[in-house]
């Protein structure tokens, strides 16, 4: 059976160009970039090239790019750094729909005595700018707000929010793990201090991430040790993965320049097809301001895990915000924050496309998913 992979916000296929670029750095060009001899120096050059490719995606300077092990490490580092460099400030601002990589870090600092403001969202997952403005205080050490939500794809007005923080001298971090490579980000125009990227969401392998740190922003390392990354992130460079990420960023930039309308059109075809064929279904999130690849649909009165298992039988990979799949006993914190009615929240399914998704894939899902929902609704005691 063919696998139809529509879970690219979870992880993505490594691009063949990325794999090919990485290949020589395992068995042939395996030198340590910190070494003195040419054999290491060549490798250092490859890392520098990759750094430039990543910088180009963000409109940044190469010196502002730090390679990390993952998006989570980047998030941890940004918040850690802002707190360590401004010990007098005891207040943090974030939203209630962040990824656990930010939410749980904020909770950690809260337990250390920090005050945390978690901005609420409306029914469409949008932030209230008045609430945001009120949250910014002279005591605020850092604002950490995602560029786009991983579950619904809703894009936040990072540009405006970063400017508001900057006017008040507050450090601003954005977790751009879902947004980077899907929508244009330019740090020349948006006054971001920190930005996190994860390689495996943009067709590079798992195990590589980036933290962008604006020039002249005060920084304290999270990982201490050797002098790699100019002393800002110790640990021998993960050369093959860094090289791969460079190529992945270049491919993503090409794609953004060409426009992602085609991907958005496929996503809309999927969404409209399913909503038209399946009664009592609704789209979650801000459909006007959304990543081009993400769709979050709720099917009333059925449970997400059951949907996913039946889709798996058809070779379709997607994810759900239902209680049974969230690892907790409650539906996803994002859907709850949006006050999605409970008889919809448990039956939510997220589809996330990539450049490798075809129209045939989409049509297969639109064709085969309605009977799955019908079958589960027939089993359900809730009928209306």
């Amino acid at each position: 059976m063919k696998t139809i992979y529509l879970d690219n916000n979870a992880t993505s296929q490594v691009a063949s160009q990325v794999k090919d670029a990485m290949q020589p750095y395992f068995c042939e060009l395996y030198g340590n970039p910190s070494s003195m001899y040419t054999f290491g120096g060549n490798v250092a050059k490859a890392v520098q090239d990759a750094r430039a490719q990543v910088a180009e995606l963000l409109g940044a300077d190469s010196s502002e790019i730090i390679f990390t092990a993952c998006g989570t490490e980047s998030d941890n580092t940004a918040i850690w750094s802002a707190i360590q460099t401004q010990p007098e400030k005891r207040h943090l601002v974030t939203t209630c729909v962040e990824h656990p990589a930010v939410l749980n870090v904020m909770q950690f600092w809260e337990r250390q005595g920090y005050r945390v403001t978690r901005l609420s969202v409306d029914n469409f997952g949008r932030l209230d700018m008045a609430e945001y403005e009120k949250a910014l205080t002279p005591d605020t050490a850092i604002v950490s707000i995602m560029s786009a939500n991983n579950e619904t794809g809703t894009i936040f007005p990072i540009d405006e929010m970063a400017k508001m923080a900057h006017e008040r001298g507050i450090v601003f971090h954005t977790d751009a793990v879902q947004a980077a490579g899907k929508i244009a980000i330019n740090v020349k125009e948006t006054p971001l201090d920190f930005l996190s990227i994860s390689g495996h969401k943009i067709h590079a392998p798992k195990g590589i991430g980036v933290l962008y740190v604006r020039k002249n922003v005060r920084f304290r390392p999270f990982m201490r040790g050797g002098h790699q990354e100019r002393g800002r992130r110790a640990g021998t460079e993960n050369v093959p993965y860094i090289v791969g990420l460079g190529v992945a960023c270049q491919l993503a930039l090409d794609e953004i320049k060409q426009g992602t309308a085609e991907m958005a059109a496929l996503r809309d075809r999927l969404e409209q097809g399913l909503v038209a064929k399946i009664p009592n279904s609704r789209v979650n999130g801000d459909v006007e301001h959304r990543l081009p690849n993400t769709s979050n649909i709720s099917f009333k009165n059925v449970e997400g895990e059951a949907i996913l298992l039946l889709l798996d039988q058809l070779g379709i990979c997607a994810s759900s915000g239902s209680a049974c799949t969230s690892g907790s006993l409650e539906p996803s914190h994002v859907l709850r924050a949006m006050q999605v009615p409970f008889n919809f929240a448990h039956g939510s399914v997220r589809f996330s496309l990539s450049r490798y998704t075809s129209a045939e894939d989409i049509d297969y899902v639109v064709e085969n998913m309605p009977p799955v929902i019908a079958k589960l609704r027939e089993l359900s005691p809730f009928k209306d």
Binding site: E303, S322, L329, F342
Partner: protein
């Protein structure tokens, strides 16, 4: 170059039988329906397989098919031979064919070697080999047993029962799973039929399905002795965090039998106990019982089995105290000697309340631009989202209607 649908359908038929619990009969028509195969065509295929003596047939209303031997004893070459006929990749290899080119043929030996490979491949494999392939496809990711998978994908006794004389309901939409169990119980207390409707994950559906299989033929006294552990055992195990699905089955069974006996939907006040977990509506009595029946020793296990403490976590301290008291008591005979209290006023279960509220809200006659959307039902607190020029008045009006039609002490709030 392909094998015919006779073989692919025939294998699907045999696999379907192989996945049934031992000895359970399956109707040909239901296999045909589930597998989307024409019934007439399937009959022909089954007829062709009959001489292998690998399944048995029982006639009559309750009849059907079942495997007569283990899947590992069903050789695939035998099955292919029955359904495809003798293997001959090219015409000149057909038995009895004499070809004049034989002495000078440059390809015949290749073809016959190729055929041997196919014969050997199939000859060395059994129906179990195919089950093993499926094991990797289906099981690896989801950590469910084959039995859970089968009951989820092909639930037994699903759907409402028109002539049920006992119905038990547990769970709620807000909790993420709910089960309505229908029973037909004879005058002398024997469970003649059982069916279910379930909203929930795979293990919730599988627990319901296997429960209906288990209880048919039992009398109510026997059925009341069943615990969630029996449900788990019949499924070959459940992941720890899914244990509450089996508890739900046990509770629905008890609720149905109470219903048949004319007792209130909720157990006696004394059995209800004190509400501990407000998020999932779990009482101390339920927690204590689950601790005892499953020999639980940790807070985490209690959440896995009852869901209590799994949401906001505010009640975790209280649960710890209950657990500590139970652990202290363990080994000693509990000397519970409280007087039988009279039954409390029949109360609605969360599920019943929710359905009534939903029905009433759906039947509301609202003005233009007015909307009422149900957000949550938390005990007597009903949260709704209102759209109106005067939401306060709408809230009051709807609350009044709900109090009249559902329960007089409901509270309506804006989410």
């Amino acid at each position: 170059m392909r094998f015919t649908t006779r073989t692919s359908y025939g294998l699907r038929f045999l696999l379907r039988l192989a996945k049934e619990p031992k000895g359970r009969l399956v109707k040909l028509a239901s296999v045909a329906q589930e597998e989307h195969i024409s019934c007439g065509y399937l009959e022909q295929i089954v007829h062709a397989l009959k001489p292998l003596n690998i399944f048995r047939v029982a006639r009559g209303v309750n009849g059907g098919y079942a495997l007569a031997v283990a899947p590992a004893a069903i050789n695939l070459w035998d099955v292919f031979l029955r359904l495809e006929g003798e293997l001959s990749l090219v015409a000149c290899l057909e038995p009895g064919t004499i070809c004049e080119r034989d002495p000078i043929c440059s390809t015949k030996l290749f073809w016959s070697d190729f055929e041997d490979h196919i014969r050997n491949y199939l000859g060395a494999r059994t129906l179990q080999s195919i089950l093993n392939f499926n094991f990797w496809r289906n099981e690896h990711m989801w950590d469910y047993t084959q039995a859970v998978h089968d009951h989820f994908l092909h639930p037994h006794n699903a759907g409402p029962m028109a002539d049920a004389n006992a119905v038990g309901e547990v769970g709620s939409l807000a909790c993420g799973d709910a089960l309505r169990l229908y029973l037909k119980i004879s005058q002398d207390g024997k469970i003649e039929k059982a069916s279910f409707e379930t909203f929930g994950c795979a293990s919730a559906i599988a627990s319901s399905s296997v429960l209906t299989d288990m209880i048919v033929g039992m009398n109510v006294e026997e059925a009341l002795k069943l615990t969630n552990k029996d449900i788990v055992a019949n499924l070959g195990g459940l992941p720890r965090e899914k244990m509450h699905c089996s508890v739900m089955g046990q509770e629905a069974l008890e609720a149905a039998i109470r219903n048949w006996r004319g007792e209130p939907a909720m157990p006696h006040a004394q059995e209800i106990g004190k509400l501990v977990c407000k998020c999932f509506g779990v009482t101390d009595a339920q927690i204590i019982r689950t601790i005892r029946e499953n020999n639980l020793t940790t807070l985490e296990e209690i959440t896995d089995y009852t869901k209590a403490g799994g949401a906001c976590g505010q009640c975790l301290d209280e649960i710890s105290e209950i657990l500590a008291a139970e652990l202290a008591k363990r080994g000693e005979k509990a000397a519970v000697d409280s007087p039988k209290e009279t039954a409390a006023k029949p109360k609605l279960t969360n599920l019943e309340r929710m359905q009534k509220v939903m029905a009433v809200l759906a039947s509301l006659k609202l003005g233009d631009g007015q909307e009422v959307q149900l957000v949550d039902v938390d005990g007597l607190k009903i949260s709704v989202k209102l759209t109106s020029s005067d939401t306060k008045k709408l809230l009051q009006d709807v609350e009044q209607i709900l109090r009249e039609k559902v329960e007089d002490n409901l509270v309506l709030v804006e989410a």
